[in-house]
């Protein structure tokens, strides 16, 4: 199959590294991937939940989970590119577990190492009184489905408050993307006009053309 790939693979390994939630303590994160219908997880965990973490005592006040993410996607269509949905929960004053933030980020498309900082937010109560009662009862408003944050639909009815940030690092490896016609690496992107220019250059210089022909990538790389 190596000659004729029909799907491309996106391998993700990374970790939910740290978070910055200035006001809270005892947090844990839940993550899951949201992806389109043309995507399938071939290996790895789609969902996960981390340990509970306390804030560091130094001035930074970081939460470090270092929670590994490892998943491999198989897909036929870049539409519905996977998104990482992170929801953060923590214990409140009364010890009940309440949500501290939702956030989502696209998996980086280009191979390599990427670091993303996801801003987190929570839905607000509809009224002040509601806010108070929800605080008392420890049942803050939550999204019915955390994956809402990865979609645009239905967001207009909610009001949210920003809470903090989560840093996630990704190491992306893709396979067969280029063979299937998806070029996501800037350094190898071929600009059609530049490619033709390069081709013209090779035409005028037959010796160089002979050298360039065996490897297909040379003209493009030269062009870039």
């Amino acid at each position: 199959m190596a000659t004729n790939p029909t799907v491309f693979l996106v391998m993700i390994s990374g970790q939910i590294e740290t978070a910055d939630f200035p006001e809270f303590d005892d947090l844990y994160v839940k993550y899951n991937f949201v992806f389109g219908t043309d995507w399938v997880i071939t290996s790895g965990l789609e969902e996960g939940i981390s340990q509970v973490c306390k804030k560091s005592n130094d001035g930074r006040g970081l939460f470090a989970w270092n929670f590994p993410l490892e998943v491999t996607f198989k897909s036929t269509n870049p539409y519905g590119w996977p998104k990482l949905v992170v929801s953060c929960y923590g214990l409140d004053v009364f010890g009940t577990s309440v949500v501290r933030g939702y956030g989502a980020v696209h998996i980086p498309i280009s191979p390599g190492r990427h670091t993303r900082t996801i801003p987190m937010f929570v839905p607000e109560s509809t009224s002040r009184f509601q806010k108070f009662t929800s605080w008392i009862m420890g049942r803050r408003p939550e999204y019915v489905d955390a994956n809402v944050v990865a979609r645009g639909e239905g967001r207009e009815v909610t009001r949210v408050r920003s809470q903090g940030h989560i840093r996630v690092s990704f190491n992306i490896v893709t396979r067969d993307m280029k063979k299937l016609g998806f070029d996501v690496i800037p350094s190898t992107l071929s600009i059609p006009s530049a490619a033709t220019a390069a081709a013209l250059a090779t035409d005028t210089n037959p010796g160089a053309a002979a050298a360039a022909v065996p490897t297909a990538n040379v003209p493009t790389s030269a062009a870039s």
């Binding site: 029909t6 399938v40 109560s125 009662t133 009862m137 909610t158």
Partner: protein, 1422 residues
């Protein structure tokens, strides 16, 4: 240890060794005891001292004391021994005296004695001698030795006893102590020793008698204190004296002890040199006989010589020896602490237990060292100067300041501290006995350091004043840099007069008067301009021009008809004519306007007059006079006529032009028509010719003809008729002129407004008017002046005059530092409590040319939306009132407070008439200064105006931009284009609009490719949620991989839908209906989907409901209700969403409670012994769901009660527990009721005793099935269900009692089973989709229906009430639209009217049931 002392020590050692050697020799020589007595004593003493010193150096002084006492006791013992010997030899009678004591002592001291015994013989004499000697020395030097000894004897015996006792006590001292503490103590001791040694040596050298007290102590040791056994009478004088001294020494000792304890208490402290000195000197007992040597040699410390001494001598007691051994054992450890390995020998130490001193003793001991101020109150007398009565200055009338507050406790502490000072803190206490806490006001010297004036300071330290600097980048300030504030700039704001054109306190007359005034102003203005006259003149001029032009044209035509000038002239003529028309229209308009104005002025004046009459008072001074000017009728008529003729001729010309145009058009049309007719005829001819040809050809030709035929039938144009009716036109113009012009002969009216009317005095007015006037008097206003939004000044409050003008006449000179951005004037009306802001007026910041002397008052209009109403005759503002005389001329009006403020803003002038204007107009703020305002397009017409080219053009023409200014070049260039093209191009450009200009460029494939590609088609169909592809996953990336059959189903369906191809056996009507239904379904589905994508907050966010009263009441009820209800109810559980479900096993909990009326086995003839009794059945229930089968246990009898819970696993298809998926689960739960029958299989009857061989059969009795979706939607199902049983069950029958029941009642032959089914964990039920479809119904009705529905559902939660349903268009419609009258049953009609009436009367009307609590029928409402 210093070198000197070390050297001294070594010499001393040598001397001692030598002496010992000598002694040994003398001992061996067995010389007379007495001869060597001196030496021995000395030796003994030195040894003794050495021991003492040694102990002092190393161990606890108390122990050391004890040791010393032990030694004393030992010596006494020896002495006693000796004395006994003596007594035995001399006076045996005395023994009686001694014995009991000895006996008494013995048991206690035995051990000591035994130990000591070996050493005694050698030391007896020496010890005794030494003792005597020393005691003598301590007391008095003179007494004879023997005698003293003898007389002393009884006492010394007592002493011995005492010492033994003390020795006993001392033995109890703890010996087990921490080595580390010991070491620490040792170290400290060493340190102090070093110090003390030096000081002592010096002292001893100075004054050898210094160690006298030590000797006393020594004496005390020898003698001890007087005990109660002693009799003072027995004592001799010398003894008394001796005792006295002893007492002293004891006291000293005890004092020392206390002191030492104190020192000990603070173990962490190094004893002071004085203490150390005391310590050593007191215990130090040097040999008086050889002061020089001992002084040097008896330095504390060096133990090595003493050890060497101890070796040869046996005077040491064994205990000490032991200690020394110990020391030796430890030395290697200690040696490490010394700098030189061998030094440890010079600093011997021994391990002793640490001391614990009870707290109270310690406190006692520390008393002398620490001062702990108490918090007790001190009497005033103790504090003040001695023997002075406290004075209270306050009572004497002096001023006493307020002292800073200090708590009493702290004050007391401080006072104690002060009192503890040497001077008793006398200068700290005031006359009143309190601490002075305030500076003395009478004091000459200030209590604070003097502040030296700057000039007196050293030049280097002098400070320099610098003014605060404003940041130079602050462009708010005119002069920017703060250090040079040279400029003086002044704005003069003149607030002159405030005139209300409407005010809430206006009476109706005022309203009219102000209107009149306004109109009159307008009239004056118009008159001044006299536009109509100007236009008339213009018209005249134009006509003249046209005339001359026409003449010229005629001439030119004669000369050169085709020249371009003729063309040009003609063109110009056209233009002129057009302009004439325009001008005439304008003039007519103006004339009409003037006339209207005049008429309305007169009308208003009439209204005023009418009002004045009606009210019987005059409120305003307005008076209108109309001056009539007789006109010359004939002249007028001539003008009139000429005008009419002019106009008519123009009209005729106009009409002729139009007519010409029409004729031309007609001609064109005629030519066209003629052509058409010609062609028609030709066609006809052709047809005739073709008639003879062959049929095939005819066919083709016919086709060809058909192609030609689209030539439309052109109707014959009709010739337009020339019908300009001159009379009619004349009539028209005349009418028109009548409307807008003064009729000929009519007098010319000139209104003149004056304020000469006399206002009726208040007392003559109506009550309402009086109230209004008094209100008006109270009404006051003032104006605030704000510069750059900061209040600068305000005028004084002025009260309103009767004509609602307020004259302020204030000129405010505002000296400014900042660039003027706004000058605001706020008009305030004073109220009883609050001043209400009527209006804010922005005055224009003046141009640089506008100075105080040039400026004119501007009238600034303002308005307020304040709403005021009054009960009296004032009209208020913002409320409608009726104006006019109430009949025909009455009109409704609503006016808001309005007015004008006459004010001006200008730049001030200095005294020398130089304008105080900020220098730079080129400053960034310059364009805010205003002069360029009208040149700035954005400012003039707003940013939106720029988009509209017409407005822009208009502005450009109005603004008269300087064409030579390069800044305007772009704009003018653009405008030239615009005007040159007649605005057409730009208009077209504006009409063209592209949402995505680059859409074409950004299409990644062309539309055709998109259409033809299977993959894209698949994706787009999926996007549209076409049912075939809705859940299509992994659309292949490569086109080839998409099977050709992928669209087959879809296309087939489409095709069928479109063409209605159906199976043969369906009749066409049904097919049409089916097709229609299909379409409806599709549309409904589309709407449904659209509705699904509309979210509300509860769909997205999970939020707790706010607890309301009902919720709280249930909570409270729950508290009240019994804790263990008799009939427990099933609790609601929290539902689990699909996400949280992963990994959880979902089960169906099926509780089979009971069954009734199960058929029983018929008693057959074949009774094998088991089922002997009639009607036995052993039923059990088996549940089958998905792949699992569960069954209950077997019960007995026809009405079993299992009450058993079966857990059946549930597996959702594809493991997807989302509501949408679960809705589609089609699995069914089957309940089968079986009878378990045991059938004996035993063949051989003989084996029955030993074997059991049976077969268990189950016989199906009935079953029931329940779809899973029911349970899913209901969340739980509980109830009694009828089992599906075959009507005949072979071998089974009803039990007799049930049979009887069946016969009794109307019960059928049925079996029932009670079950309770639920899902664990509870799955979130699918949202009951609210049908939110479009509706054509009225919004109000819809909302009402919704309210009705909700209110009913609250009242009757079980009733299903629907108000609207969906129609075939997918829109919701009221149910009532489908209600149709139904004919009453035929019986009723036939029966005659009676029963019908009865039937109708049964129907309850709305009014009836509204009296009841609830409606009897829900639908009746509709």
């Amino acid at each position: 240890m210093s070198d000197g002392s070390g050297a001294g020590g070594s010499t001393f050692t040598r001397a001692m060794q030598k002496r010992r050697k000598d002694l040994r020799e003398s001992m061996t020589d067995s010389t007379i005891e007495m001869s060597s007595q001196h030496d021995t004593i000395q030796q003994m003493l030195s040894a003794d001292d050495g021991g003492v010193i040694d102990e002092m150096e190393t161990i606890d002084p108390i122990e050391e004391l004890q040791d010393a006492e032990n030694l004393v006791e030992k010596l006494q013992n020896d002495r006693e021994e000796r004395r006994r010997e003596l007594f035995q030899s001399l006076e045996p009678a005395e023994e009686t005296d001694v014995k009991p004591i000895r006996q008494k002592r013995k048991p206690k001291a035995t051990s000591r004695d035994i130990e000591e015994i070996p050493t005694i013989p050698e030391t007896i004499v020496e010890a005794e001698e030494g003792r005597v000697k020393s005691s003598d020395k301590g007391a008095k030097p003179t007494p004879a030795k023997r005698k003293g000894k003898k007389s002393k004897e009884p006492m010394s015996m007592e002493d011995a006893i005492m010492s033994v006792k003390t020795g006993m006590v001392s033995e109890k001292a703890p010996g087990n102590l921490n080595a580390s503490i010991r070491e620490r103590i040792k170290k400290k001791m060493l340190q102090t020793k070093e110090k003390a040694e030096e000081t002592m040596r010096e002292e001893v050298e100075k004054d050898p008698d210094r160690d006298f007290p030590a000797r006393k102590l020594r004496g005390m040791r020898a003698r001890d204190t007087i005990t109660r056994f002693d009799e003072s009478t027995i004592l001799t004088k010398e003894e008394i004296e001796e005792d006295k001294m002893l007492q002293e020494s004891i006291a000293a000792k005890s004092r020392w002890k206390v002191a030492f304890k104190a020192v000990k208490a603070k173990t962490s402290h190094i004893p002071t040199s004085e203490e150390a000195y005391d310590f050593f000197t007191r215990n130090f007992d040097p040999e008086p006989e050889e002061p020089e040597k001992v002084a040097a040699g008896d330095q504390p410390g060096p133990s090595s010589p003493r050890e060497e001494e101890a070796q040869p001598k046996s005077t040491r007691d064994e205990e000490e020896k032991k200690d020394e051994d110990k020391e030796e054992d430890e030395t290697p450890l200690l040696s490490e602490h010394f700098l030189y390995q061998d030094d440890w020998k010079d600093h011997p130490s021994s391990m002793r237990s640490a001391e614990y001193m009870p707290w109270r003793y310690r406190q006692e001991a520390e008393k002398g060292y620490y001062f702990v101020p108490s918090t007790e109150y001190i009497n005033v007398k103790e504090k003040g100067p001695a023997e002075a009565e406290p004075r209270y200055l306050e009572d004497e009338g002096f001023y006493v300041g307020v002292k800073p507050s200090v708590s009493q406790r702290n004050r007391n502490l401080m006072e104690h501290r002060l009192l503890n000072r040497d001077d008793k803190g006398s200068q700290w206490f005031g006359a009143d006995g309190l601490i002075k806490a305030l500076p003395d006001p009478l004091k000459d010297m200030p209590s604070r350091p003097r502040v030296v004036p700057n000039e007196e300071r050293e030049p280097a330290l002098q400070t320099v004043y610098k003014k605060a600097i404003v940041s130079e980048f602050d462009n708010w300030y005119i002069d920017g840099l703060g250090d040079e504030l040279g400029g003086r700039y002044q704005l003069d704001v003149d607030v002159n007069t405030l005139i209300f054109t409407h005010h809430s306190l206006f009476s109706k007359e005022h309203v009219l008067a102000s209107r009149l005034r306004q109109m009159y102003d307008q009239y004056l203005k118009r008159k001044q301009k006299d536009v109509a006259h100007y236009l008339t003149e213009k018209l005249k001029a134009l006509r003249g021009a046209v005339k001359t032009l026409e003449e010229q044209l005629v001439n030119m035509r004669h000369a050169d008809p085709d020249s371009s000038t003729v063309q040009e002239h003609q063109h110009r003529l056209q233009e002129y004519k057009y302009e004439i028309r325009q001008t005439r229209r304008l003039r007519d308009y103006e004339l009409q306007h003037d006339r209207q104005l005049l008429l309305s002025i007169i009308k208003t004046w009439r209204d005023i007059k009418a009002l004045r009459e009606a009210e019987e008072c005059t409120n305003t001074p307005v008076r209108l006079g109309v001056r009539k000017e007789e006109s010359n009728k004939r002249e007028d008529e001539a003008v009139w006529k000429a005008d009419i003729e002019d106009e008519v001729s123009e009209m005729r010309e106009e009409y002729e032009e139009d007519y010409q145009g029409e004729i031309e058009r007609y001609k064109e049309a005629l030519i066209e028509w003629k052509d058409y007719m010609k062609q028609k005829k030709a066609n006809k001819r052709k047809k005739k010719q073709q008639g003879s040809r062959e049929s095939l050809e005819v066919l083709t030709e016919a086709n060809g003809n058909e192609e030609e035929e689209p030539l439309e039938e052109i109707p014959k144009p009709t010739k337009p008729s020339y019908s300009f009716n001159e009379d009619e036109a004349k009539q028209k113009t005349r009418e028109n002129m009548c409307k807008i012009r003064r009729k000929p002969g009519e007098p010319m009216l000139t209104p003149e407004l004056s304020n000469t009317a006399v206002i009726t005095p208040t007392s003559d007015c109506s009550k309402a008017e009086q109230a209004r006037r008094s209100d008006m008097l109270r009404c006051k206003c003032f104006v605030k002046v704000l510069f750059n939004n900061k209040e600068v000044s305000r005028t004084g409050t002025r009260s309103m005059t009767s004509d609602f003008t307020l004259h302020f006449g204030d000129i405010f000179n505002i000296q400014i530092m900042q660039w003027p951005e706004s000058v605001k004037l706020q008009v305030f009306e004073t109220g009883t409590l609050i001043n209400t802001l009527l209006a804010e007026i922005f005055a224009v910041v003046p141009d640089t040319q506008v100075t105080q002397d040039k400026v004119q008052l501007e009238s600034l209009d303002f308005g307020s939306d304040q709403r005021v109403t009054y009960e009296h005759s004032a009209v208020g503002s913002g409320y409608t009132f009726h104006l006019g005389s109430g009949d025909t001329s009455g009109e409704e009006m609503q006016l808001f407070t309005q007015g004008q403020l006459l004010a001006s803003v200008s730049w001030g002038l200095a005294e020398d008439n130089t304008p105080l204007i900020p220098p730079s107009a080129t400053h960034a703020n310059a364009n805010e200064l205003g002069p360029l305002n009208h040149l700035d397009a954005v400012a003039a017409i707003g940013a939106t105006g720029l988009v509209d080219p017409e407005r822009l053009a208009k502005w450009v023409s109005e603004a008269r931009l300087d064409p030579n200014d390069p800044a305007n070049a772009n704009l003018l260039h653009m405008m030239r284009d615009f005007q040159g093209e007649g605005g057409k191009i730009l208009k077209q450009a504006a009409q063209f609009f592209r949402l995505e200009q680059l859409q074409e460029e950004f299409n990644f494939v062309s539309h055709e490719v998109l259409e033809s590609s299977k993959r894209f088609r698949l994706i787009s169909l999926r996007e549209k949620e076409v049912p075939e592809f809705r859940n299509y996953k992994m659309v292949p990336l490569i086109e080839k991989e998409i099977p050709d059959t992928a669209f087959a189903d879809y296309e087939k369906r489409k095709h069928m839908e479109e063409h209605g191809i159906l199976e043969e056996d369906v009749d066409p009507h049904r097919a049409a209906v089916a097709k229609f239904l299909g379409k409806v379904r599709e549309r409904v589905m589309a709407r449904f989907r659209a509705a699904q994508h509309q979210y509300s907050l509860p769909d997205v966010v999970n939020e707790d409901q706010v607890p309301d009263v009902s919720m709280l009441s249930t909570i409270i009820l729950r508290l009240i209700e019994p804790k263990r209800p008799l009939r427990p109810q099933r609790k609601e559980r929290k539902t689990v969403t699909a996400q949280n479900l992963s990994g959880l096993q979902v089960n169906l909990l099926i509780n089979i409670e009971r069954a009734i009326e199960i058929p029983v086995r018929k008693s057959t003839g074949r009774q094998d012994g088991q089922s002997t009794s009639y009607g036995t059945v052993r039923p059990f229930v088996e549940v089958v769901f998905q792949q699992s089968i569960k069954q209950t246990s077997v019960a007995e009898g026809p009405n079993p009660n299992w009450n058993e819970e079966l857990i059946v696993p549930f597996q959702a298809p594809n493991n997807d527990y989302s509501p949408s998926n679960l809705q589609g689960v089609k699995d069914v739960i089957y309940f089968n009721l079986f009878d378990e029958v045991l059938i004996d299989m035993l063949q051989d009857e003989r084996d029955r005793a030993t074997n059991i061989h049976q077969r268990m059969e189950r016989r199906w009795l009935g079953s029931i099935s329940m779809p899973f979706s029911t349970i899913y939607f209901q969340n739980r199902v509980s109830g009694t269900f009828r089992l599906n049983t075959p009507s005949v069950l072979l071998g089974y029958d009803r039990s007799p009692d049930s049979m009887s029941r069946i016969q009794g009642g109307n019960q059928t032959n049925a079996t029932y089973i009670s079950v309770f089914i639920t899902i664990e964990p509870p799955l979130s039920p699918p949202e009951p989709l609210k049908e939110k479809f479009d509706s054509n119904e009225d919004e109000k009705l819809l909302s009402y229906a919704e309210n009705y529905q909700t209110s009913l559902s609250v009242k009757f939660p079980k009733r299903e009430v629907t108000t609207s349903v969906m129609d075939i268009n997918g829109k919701s419609v009221f149910v009532t639209r489908y209600f149709r009258p139904i004919k009453p049953p035929a019986i009723l009609i036939e029966d005659g009217n009676n029963s019908l009436k009865v039937a109708v009367s049964i129907i309850v009307s709305y009014t009836m049931w509204s009296e009841y609590e609830e409606p009897p029928f829900n639908t009746l409402h509709f």
